[in-house]
């Protein structure tokens, strides 16, 4: 949740999606949800903890630089800077824009979670080294002759 002061000053500049940018130009698209109390960053926010392997007590400093963009800096709980993974081209995280939840003015939005209906059919797979190296995920079924 972004502070009320921020909402008061910059709330009108924040649209439905914002972009977080780290020192290595990796970008994270995040969905913005609002209620009568503040601005919440929901869908896509969880990718940060996964990408930087954030642990309990880590700090994220976000600086608004305009046009819906935030610069982010990350530190562990002791204030030590965390290393940003470097990719060429920089990694770009985009959020799924389908089934955007409707936020009521008096309800606190929750973090993103899969809909159970999207897991009526499931396929479980243990990843092999080939799938890491070749960059190809194989989904196969048994057949009846």
């Amino acid at each position: 949740m972004l502070p009320m002061m921020f909402k008061h000053d910059f709330g009108d500049q924040i649209r439905q999606y914002v972009i977080m940018v780290d020192r290595k130009e990796n970008t994270f698209e995040v969905l913005v949800e609002r209620n009568n109390q503040g601005i919440y960053l929901t869908r896509g926010w969880g990718a940060l903890s996964d990408f930087y392997k954030l642990s309990l007590g880590a700090w994220v400093t976000i600086v608004y630089v305009g046009e819906g963009r935030f610069n982010i800096r990350l530190m562990d709980r002791f204030g030590k800077k965390l290393r940003c993974p470097e990719f060429s081209p920089p990694m770009e995280f985009l959020v799924d824009r389908n089934a955007i939840p409707v936020t009521l003015f008096n309800v606190v939005p929750g973090p993103f979670a899969h809909d159970e209906l999207n897991f009526q059919h499931t396929y479980k797979k243990r990843l092999e080294s080939d799938e890491m190296n070749d960059g190809v995920l194989v989904i196969f079924d048994k057949c009846i002759v």
Binding site: F112, F119, V136, I139
Partner: protein
Amino acid sequence: MYSVIYYLRTICSLLIFHVILCFSKVLAYVGFSIMCLDTSSTSIKLVDEHGNRWNCTIQFVPCNDARFLICSGWNKMVKARGLKDGDRVVIGAPGVGSNETLYCIVIRR
């Protein structure tokens, strides 16, 4: 008499069907991919547990076992999320129809 002929005809047609099935390798597929994916699809969207989408290409390989290859965006997701050998993925799809979106959950080792 007619019932005997009808019975023999049915048996013969079943035998012929079985022979054709064996020689022409017409296979009946069962399972996740054939229920949830379209063999003519060329692109698919993978949505992970953070709500991020990964646009992937998909290719159907007709062979003894029905096989779909998910490429392109999968490679990007592996790098971005730091997936390792031994991690598990659960891929889900809604119950109805062929899908152009699959949902996934990564379970780390």
